[in-house]
């Protein structure tokens, strides 16, 4: 493929799930300063959008999704080269606004129909995890919304539009004390797989370098700084 | 009811209207004037489409517009039945519904309103067209619908802006007769605008002439015909109007080197002279006998008007004589030909200017 008016050799395109926004911005900067002459472009969107784009022929070198299962369609389409590697993990916590308007103490409280409770949509990774958490704890939650992504859940918690919700641990990381995190009775976690794409326009070597950087100590430090767990 | 009394002042960018209008209940005022004189503007003011800039309008005890007092009655409460110059039929309504629009607006049920409309539709011989849309009407048909619609709205006053300009000769006579009857029965004041002298002389009780935004003459049709004060009125009445200075029945015309003698010797000073075109005789040689006015001039133009031929003369400039087609042939008149003019002094009317 062609990316007009730029030098193929020095431009690396990384498609990343939107929950990695801040971490990968930092990652790109750090990588660029270590590799002068290489420009890293990060394309951020929801996992499904990224997948559509890749299937539609997007000129991407690497892709990082928020859920191992989301890679499957890409693999069956033959878009992925080599094996995927997990670069980080994340787990769910129960979050309530610091004022805790619903007086939520534990996951089992979410069965109360008078509370406003939100989790992710069933088909996105954090939604699948949420369903798993409820199942593991045997809680029949009375849900009021299934948000398209975890950031939407967090935003509504921050605004106290919701009384409680399930979010990633990383989501609590940079909100100070505006949200209260409550550990789940049974921990549920997800992993972030990274894969090389067949049609990547950039040098394979550069792509490999970036992947190595992410898995290396500098990359892992950045991820850890944003609250991600080690793979 | 005290009729319509109004002083209408409208100031536009390059046109000023300032006219007094007074119409008694049960009487018809014809508002006449050249194109662009302000007649339709006056209609707009009366109907409340534009507000007065000054003056005031009273209709039957109600003040409709008085900018000084801050009074302005909106159109729909004025109860004026208006035929607009460009009809303004409601395009998406059929003829019947256009006519029924007024009764319906007055609160009648759809059925009653349609029945009322049908009476008027019948009266104006529009029954065949009742289900047409305005865009499917000929020009004259649309005009008849507009008249019927205005009348059907049961108004307190009638305002007709050139209601018959698009009618054919035959239906014009009919509509004119209908209108005469309807106006005759109509108890409120009526204002009629028309460019057709026949309409005006037949339908109007009084005439107000507006020229360039000002009233230049008022009077009964007979008065205006006898004594036109402006060349517009003279043209309307089909008279020649000349200006000059008069001493003991001898008038020196202003613009031409012609002196005219009138049998009327009572006027002196600035004078208006009125001569009917039929009173002007043309001859190939100097006429003998009684006419005290006789001079020689040239033919400026010849227009056949059907039963008579209108001859325009060069001195006084634009003087018009009506003669028979036979006379044209006998005198072999052509534009530019020499001709002798004679007028009896008794046919020359003189008025102080």
């Amino acid at each position: 493929g062609s990316t007009p008016a730029t030098d193929r050799a020095t431009e690396l395109t990384v498609f990343a799930a939107s929950s990695l926004t801040d971490a990968f911005d930092e990652m790109a900067d750090a990588f660029e300063s270590e590799h002068p002459g290489v420009a890293v472009r990060v394309n951020l969107a929801g996992s499904a959008t990224l997948r559509e784009q890749v299937l539609g022929g997007a000129p991407a070198d690497l892709i990082v999704l928020a859920d191992a299962t989301a890679m499957a369609p890409l693999r069956s389409d033959g878009a992925i080269e080599g094996t995927e590697v997990v670069i980080a993990t994340n787990d769910l916590v129960l979050a309530v606004p610091s004022s805790n308007p619903g007086g939520v103490e534990a996951l089992s409280d979410l069965a109360d129909p008078d509370l406003l409770v939100g989790v992710c949509a069933a088909d996105v990774p954090c939604g699948r995890l949420a369903d798993a958490a409820f199942a593991a704890a045997g809680v029949a939650a009375s849900l009021d919304t299934r948000e398209p992504n975890v950031r939407a859940v967090r935003t509504k918690l921050l605004d106290a539009e919701l009384d409680a919700g399930l979010v990633y641990r990383t989501d609590l990381h940079d909100v100070g004390d505006r949200l209260l995190g409550i550990e789940l009775p049974v921990a549920v976690a997800t992993s972030y797989p990274l894969a090389r794409l067949v049609d990547g326009p950039a040098d394979d070597a550069v792509a490999a370098d970036f992947a190595a950087f992410v898995l290396g100590s500098d990359g892992q430090a950045i991820l850890a700084a944003h609250g991600f767990g080690r793979p | 009811m005290s009729g319509l009394r109004g002083r209408l002042v409208i100031r536009r960018h390059d046109f000023d209207l300032d006219v007094d209008l007074d119409v008694e209940p049960g009487s018809t005022l014809a508002l006449l004037g050249p194109n662009g004189a302000g007649k339709s503007t006056a209609v707009d003011a009366l109907t409340g489409i534009v507000g007065l800039d000054d003056g005031r309008i009273r209709l039957g005890g109600r003040v409709l517009d008085d900018p000084a007092a801050g009074v302005f009655v909106p159109s729909h409460q004025r109860r004026m039945g208006v035929v607009f110059q460009r009809h303004h039929l409601i395009p998406h309504l059929r003829v019947r519904d256009n006519v029924a629009f007024g009764p319906q607006a007055a609160g009648r049920r759809r059925r009653a309103a349609r029945a009322a409309a049908d009476d008027w539709i019948h009266r104006f011989e529009l029954s065949e067209l009742a289900d047409r849309r305005p865009s499917e009407l000929s020009g004259g048909q649309a005009q008849r619908v507009a008249i019927a619609r205005a009348l059907a709205s049961d108004p307190e006053m009638l305002v007709l802006d050139e209601p018959m300009s698009a009618l054919d000769v035959a239906s014009r006579a009919g509509v004119r007769r209908d209108l005469a009857a309807i106006l005759g029965d109509f108890p409120g004041p009526r204002l009629l605008i028309s460019h057709d002298p026949t309409d005006v002389f037949l339908l109007a009780d009084r005439i107000a002439v507006v020229e360039d935004g000002r009233i230049t003459q008022t009077g009964t049709p007979a008065e205006l015909r006898r004594r036109p004060a402006t060349s517009y009125v003279a043209a309307l009445a089909g008279r020649n109007l000349l200006r000059g200075s008069c001493v003991a029945g001898r008038i020196d015309l202003d613009d031409d080197d012609v002196t005219i003698t009138s049998a009327n010797t009572s006027v002196s000073g600035r004078a208006l002279v009125v001569i009917p075109p039929q009173a002007i005789a043309l001859h190939s040689d100097r006429p003998h006998g009684s006419p005290r006015n006789a001079w020689r001039t040239r033919v400026a133009g010849i227009e056949p008007l059907g039963d008579v031929v209108r001859v325009t003369l060069q001195a006084p400039d634009g003087l018009q004589a009506d003669v028979t087609p036979g006379a044209i042939a006998t005198l072999s008149l052509t534009p530019g030909a020499d001709v002798w003019v004679s007028i009896k002094a008794t046919e020359v009317e003189v008025w102080p200017a």
């Binding site: 559509e52 939100g118 949509a121 009021d144 948000e147 605004d159 | 409340g48 998406h92 007055a106 709205s153």
Partner: protein, 264 residues
């Protein structure tokens, strides 16, 4: 009937028009090719689709109706009544169009959310919380769709012939009657266009709805939300649901042809 000779279409018109049409048709054709037709029957009966379809129709039609009822008066005021600040009002009215829908949803939360400027007093007084309800879906739809109706109708009102309205007033019609019997019928095609735009915008609305009303199957999950969710797991289902949207619109538009459009 007489042989009416329509205007001949000049090539300078036909060529760009053909381009416009292909630009619209090509992606739709691409979509139609990608849709897994044989899965259509069972997907169409799936509860997620049925419920989303019902909800989408109810909310988008209600929103369009509300837009009509409150939008036409505002368009009329903007077109006909000079008042101070009219230009500003006119500009403000178009803003929801440029606001990214997600931000529009956030703005709705700021205003009508449980902690919103107006929502908080409302919740305190009545206990009624707007978000996460069908009312929130409708409100979000109205917010994004209203400008389309207003702008379209106002544009048409400005071109309409006021003299006919004056004539109607002289026949005794109150301003209200003039509006309903003369003005609005005379801009019929534009009114229908505006309503169609508002409805379509509401039917396709995603961002503001998901942000303000949330996404719960059967309560606030409209078709576009269902599509979005399906896209995550079952792309074929997403395409089928989209197709349902397209087909419904198509059927509605073609069926209403005679009554809606150019009955001229």
């Amino acid at each position: 009937m007489s042989r009416r000779i329509g205007p001949r279409a000049p090539a300078l018109v036909v060529v760009p028009a053909a381009i416009a049409f292909s630009l619209i048709v090509a992606p739709l054709a691409g979509l139609a090719l990608a849709v897994p037709w044989r899965r259509l029957p069972d997907l169409l009966g799936a509860p997620i689709v049925v419920e989303a379809l019902r909800l989408s129709l109810v909310t988008s039609l209600s929103a369009a109706l509300i837009c009509l009822v409150i939008g036409v008066p505002l368009a009329w005021l903007l077109a006909r009544v000079p008042f101070p600040g009219r230009t500003l009002v006119r500009a403000v009215v178009t803003l929801p169009m440029v606001l990214p829908p997600v931000v529009g949803g956030a703005a709705l939360l700021f205003a009508f959310g449980r902690r919103g400027v107006f929502g908080e007093p409302l919740a305190d007084a009545t206990g009624f919380v707007l978000p996460f309800s069908i009312w929130a879906v409708i409100l979000a739809n109205v917010f994004v769709a209203l400008p389309f109706l207003i702008v379209t109708v106002e544009g048409a009102l400005v071109s309409a012939d006021e003299r006919v309205e004056h004539a109607a007033a002289s026949l005794g019609a109150t301003p209200m009657r003039v509006i309903t019997r003369v003005t609005l019928p005379s801009i019929g095609p534009s009114l229908r266009a505006g309503l169609l735009l508002a409805w379509a915008r509401a039917l396709g609305e995603f961002g503001a709805t998901v942000t303000f009303a949330g996404n719960l199957q059967g309560r606030t999950q409209t078709l576009p939300l269902a599509v979005f969710v399906a896209l995550e797991s079952d792309r074929d289902a997403a395409l089928v649901i989209s197709l349902v949207l397209v087909v419904i619109s198509l059927v509605l538009l073609v069926a209403l042809r005679g009554r809606w459009w150019g009955a001229r």
